[in-house]
Amino acid sequence: MKRRDEVQVGIVITIAVVVLLTGVLWLARGGLSSGYPLYTRFAWGQNLKQGQPVLLAGVNIGYVDDVELRRDGYLDVVMRVNRRYRVPKSAKATVRAVGFFGDVAVALTPKLGSDLTETFSPGDTVPAGPPEASVSEIMTKADSISGALSQITHALQVEVVDAGGLRDLRKTIASTAALAVQLQNIATEQNENLSRTLAAYRKVAEAIDTAQVDSTVRNFRASSQYVSSTAARLDTAATRLNDLLAKANNDNGTLGLLMSDSTLYRNLRNSLASADSLLADIKAHPGRYISVRIF
């Protein structure tokens, strides 16, 4: 065995170990610097694991160093932040999906307008912000929407297409279109009639003599006054007639006694009977009563 072989093997293995460690650290941490620790706490189910990036306002400033599963439903997360960066105290930590492949990152988002000069010290705990909707949640929601849409589509298929609703709808639309055409024709026709009527009316109106109308109106007004005075006279006559009838109804007056006295009635009947018999006798024996002499 040559000594040169040992040296070559040693060099190759050493370089391989260096490449391996450098590559693994770069992939897992983004660099060889360990950075300073910051802590935060999230609820379970965040898909967090060691090596995932830590973002400050979207800029990669570190990595997740450790994730400890607690029994109370929370995760203690240790972050390693590059020493070049300081995290403002107004920042909140959230778990944010990165891309469509299910990978996540811890996003530190400072409050806009706050004092950005005041920063967390190494070992501080960054408060967790409200959880963001994960890709799986969005997918679940989209899935449920898709399911509902599918049901609606199926119902439409059954109710509208299979049951002939679509055909009926087409018929209805066609009928409505025909009705609209008919209505339009009617409207056109009526419009023409109306135009003719208006023209005739205009002619009639133009033919009316305003002076004659005026005199007619005046005559009508005079007639009205005459009717009004006549009505007043009629009213007076009616009043008088009422008085007369009242007197007639009164048994004390002459007319009243005439109307209500039964003795008078009987006398009158007897008189009439006597007159009848007289007339009958006259008819039977006219000579007894009438003596006609000529010269």
């Binding site: 293995i13 490449v19 694991k49 891309g99 990978d103």
Partner: protein, 283 residues
């Protein structure tokens, strides 16, 4: 020491009718194949036992291991780097041009990392070394077998397994992961160069993709596969050389057999590893 059984010649079937004769020969061939497979598996176990025994003689295999590490590892470095470099760049290029509009470009970095580290890095390194190192190993040990140098070693109270097989096995098991580390690094670097300078992906996109969803177990998985491939290459190659039959033809046949068995073993181990360990890659 491994023993090689001698099979008795089967009875002649020439007097049987054609159909019976064909049937008997067919079943004899099948039974011989099945028995041969079990016999081979048994011989491998015996060989493994001999290797285990050889661990007790570090003075014999220690110095030779370093030399074999140089032969297997250092000398294979350029070939491994060339293969990995082309593979990484082709993966990046293919991924970039298969992407439809709207897909984020960091996918190129992600695909390059996953393909090179998880699959192509260890697999192609193993297959390349099966041809380059395995064939050489079989030829070396086979030639020593047919020229009776191994018998001479036994005569000199040297354990030939400890002197010839174990150093190659250890060297391959150690150097395959080392070569795989270089292959992974070269493959990803060439993919980065191809992606950034040939297809217009921004360096940031590629680097973001490289880090996306990364877990340290991915590298462990890659090195674990490389270790198994190294063991398979050296074990089967050394075994085939160790049992080489007399003559140049026997050595050639053993070499070809070793390359075939080693290549198939690498692919089978690759599939087994994926089935058993792939679920842990997401954690």
């Amino acid at each position: 020491m491994t023993h090689f059984p001698h099979h008795p010649r089967p009875a002649s079937t020439d007097t049987f009718p054609v159909i019976q004769r064909s049937g008997i020969r067919f079943f004899r061939r099948v039974s011989r194949g099945v028995a041969g497979a079990f016999e081979k598996a048994g011989a491998w176990v015996y060989f493994l036992r001999d290797i285990g025994r050889a661990f007790g003689e570090p003075a014999t295999y220690g110095p030779e291991t370093i030399r074999q590490m140089k032969n297997i590892g250092v000398d294979s470095l350029p070939l491994t780097a060339i293969v990995a470099g082309f593979i990484g760049s082709v993966v990046a290029l293919q991924t970039r041009y298969q992407m439809f509009p709207g897909v984020q470009l960091s996918l190129v970095g992600l695909a390059t990392r996953q393909m090179v580290i998880l699959e192509l890095g260890p697999l192609l390194t193993g297959l390349v070394l099966a041809g380059r190192v395995g064939a050489r190993m079989t030829a070396e040990i086979g030639t020593m077998r047919v020229t009776e140098q191994i018998d001479a070693l036994e005569t000199l109270a040297y354990d030939p397994v400890a002197f010839l097989v174990l150093p190659r096995l250890l060297a391959a098991i150690i150097m395959l992961p080392v070569l795989t580390v270089f292959a992974d690094a070269v493959g990803i670097t060439s993919g980065y160069l191809m992606g950034v300078y040939a297809t217009g992906i921004s360096p940031t996109d590629f680097k973001d993709g490289l880090k996306l969803g990364y877990g340290t177990f991915q590298v462990i998985y890659s090195l674990l596969k490389a270790t198994m491939f190294g063991g398979a290459i050296s074990f089967f190659s050394a075994y085939e050389g160790y049992i080489a039959e007399a003559g140049a033809e026997g050595v050639g046949r053993s070499t070809a057999t070793a390359v075939v068995i080693t290549s198939v073993a690498i692919l089978v181990l690759d599939a087994l590893t994926a089935v058993l360990l792939a679920p842990y890659l997401q954690s």
